[in-house]
Symmetry: C2
């Protein structure tokens, strides 16, 4: 397709690869520019990118004729945004803040996000060591009310810790209430957690979670589709939820009032064919009414981490054990390979001990251990980590479980 672009000059085909991935710095800069111009979840912008390619859309926004079907007023608005965009500076600022940009289709891109179609993010900004692609393989979203009850906060922390202990990654939105309790529960159990923000990932929001988000970036991942410095808006909060839903194997609503944003996440998960779950609460609690509404529909009632894993793990939980060969060690990244090599042959070891053996920090070791867990090499046993039978048995040609 590329190279065979239409010759009328008005609507050339994608110039940056048939699958929409970027192959040059120009492509990358064009894409980063678009993250400043096109709002998250804008399906029209997504269609432009799919039909014309990022470079052509960026070129038009800078000095070309409007794209077909867009009003003059809207086009002027988009152009004004494009004029102020400075992708090269954005990328440099991100790099300086330890933030990387992951375009769709590249190595660290989580494939499940493609289920969003034209509403898929233009790219993700990431703070943290682990591979988002691999972590997303075994991840569950825990979401809920900001103004939650002590019961809701307890349940979120408890479920998150239980998921972490079973080797699952806890994804949430970094907000007060249920989100924060979920992140803290995972971190407190030495587990893996991902915060998906509705603003630039260099910008701690809410402010009161600055320390928590820094800790998540150290021990896990802070993710967002908005460029550095960008601020959250009500619409962005809502649209962020589709990323949480698409990224994970299932969404658990812990506590939510009717019309809560968490229900948006749950319904997005449902539409995307992900598992939807909810935690029951007193019928007298307005903050459980949203969860109960879901449970009167297709959501599954869950009361502990084992019940969540029973749902999301149907395919994946036992899969690495049942499917045979795991990803061969020599296909692992060097950092993960070093951590794997540091695990004792026949017993469980604590993350600290493994980190010392792999000559890295404990946070880095934990990040790698959850990757290795997602790939079927290791298992969590209480507070320690152990090689799986599959990893200790030499195998022939393996295949990527994705």
């Amino acid at each position: 397709m590329s190279g065979a672009a239409a010759s009328d000059g008005a609507a050339p085909g994608p110039t940056d690869g048939t699958d929409g991935t970027d192959s040059t710095d120009d492509d990358l800069h064009a894409r980063v520019l678009l993250t400043r111009v096109i709002e998250p979840g804008d399906e029209i912008g997504g269609r432009w990118v799919r039909e014309h390619g990022v470079r052509e859309v960026a070129r038009r926004l800078r000095d070309g004729p409007p794209l077909p079907g867009v009003s003059a007023q809207r086009w002027a608005g988009l152009r004004a945004r494009a004029e102020r965009a400075e992708p090269v500076r954005d990328l440099a600022a991100a790099r300086a803040a330890g933030v990387r940009f992951v375009p769709p289709g590249t190595g660290e891109w989580p494939g499940p996000l493609d289920d969003l179609g034209d509403a898929r993010p233009l790219g993700l900004w990431l703070r943290g060591r682990p591979s988002l692609r691999i972590w997303a393989l075994r991840s569950v979203a825990l979401v809920g009310a900001r103004a939650c009850t002590p019961y809701g906060a307890h349940m979120a922390a408890d479920l998150a810790a239980g998921l972490a202990e079973r080797g699952w990654v806890v994804v949430s939105g970094g907000a007060y209430g249920i989100d924060g309790a979920a992140h803290r529960g995972a971190l407190g159990a030495g587990g893996a957690t991902v915060a998906v923000l509705a603003c630039g990932v260099d910008r701690p929001y809410p402010r009161g979670h600055t320390a928590l988000l820094t800790r998540i970036a150290d021990q896990g991942l802070v993710v967002g589709e908005l460029p550095p410095g960008d601020h959250p808006t009500p619409a962005r909060f809502i649209l962020r939820n589709r990323v949480i839903a698409a990224l994970t194997r299932g969404t658990v609503v812990v506590e939510a009032a009717c019309r809560s944003g968490s229900l948006v996440t749950a319904r997005a998960a449902q539409r995307l064919g992900r598992h939807t779950m909810a935690v029951p609460g007193p019928a007298t609690s307005a903050l459980s009414a949203g969860a109960h509404e879901l449970l009167r529909g297709d959501a599954v009632l869950v009361t502990d981490a084992a019940e969540i894993v029973e749902q999301v793990g149907e395919m994946g939980e036992l899969a690495p054990v049942r499917r045979g060969p795991v990803l061969p060690r020599d296909l692992l990244e060097p950092a993960a390979r070093r951590v794997l090599a540091a695990l004792p042959a026949h017993r469980a070891a604590a993350a600290g001990e493994i980190a010392r053996g792999a000559q890295t920090t404990e946070d880095d070791a934990i990040a790698r251990l959850y990757e290795l867990r997602a790939l079927g090499h290791v298992e969590r046993h209480g507070d320690g980590w152990k090689l799986t039978r599959e990893s200790t048995t030499p195998v022939g040609a393996g295949r990527d479980p994705r």
Copy 2:
């Protein structure tokens, strides 16, 4: 079939009518005798009655040869019970205590109990004015733990009051905890309630509920399949639950631990094709674990009376309004007809006013009003009662909505 009985004398066909109903005093006495001999829910005893008729089974138990397929030891045990049975005295004692005996197939027998097959009660003993058959048409079971939490008791009372206000009859087991709260909730809303006991209905059990059960008998119905004076046993409690499940349109488990007897009722309801519902509670509450177990299966989550009616009312709730003609007034019993005649033409009236108009007690008026509600003649409006449009419109030939 009757009269065409097998001639070998060993296994004659039923001699008391092809449908198993009793047509003579002998039949009635034989059946009452059997309620002392055969335990509730004994399907073998039920099969004997179906195959041989009550008179033949009673005759054999008194002085005939054993029925085929029963061990000598068991037969001796049954005979010993039969020897001590005094059906004529039982009926007289019952009558003196204001208790009536309702055999299957007779006017007041609730047809849905026949769904129990050979485990259907041999008969029911009733204390109270209303017609059980008619009340059962629009009834819901509220069941749950004896040692319930304040939350559970609140929910039971609240749901019962809400059901009563919507013209539904609340059925429960008369026990402490959820059962008691449900009965009281219905009574407190001037509503209709039925207690199904696991002992003789003249014997208040539990003792602490003597006053409550007396009030239920005054304002509603106390029902049981055991003859006067008989005592409850653990097995009888469990088997009583099948009657609650079969009698009602649906069963709601309000609060129940795992392995609770209420789950037996819910599962019986499920097997019988009745609606099964449960009230959620905190995931941390052991007394909601049983309800949550049901909700992870096929039970529907309910948090208020409207949601219960949405389930059980699918067919019946709107049916009297939509199906056209209600049971014609001249087919009503005289007591119900008098109450119906006392309702004002174009406005709602309180039960007390209607009772005065019908020259009866308020309790009796309420009993009749719930019958009339089940038959589509009246509706509850807040604290008052009003004629339905159907009842005020003269109709031609009606038909029994059953």
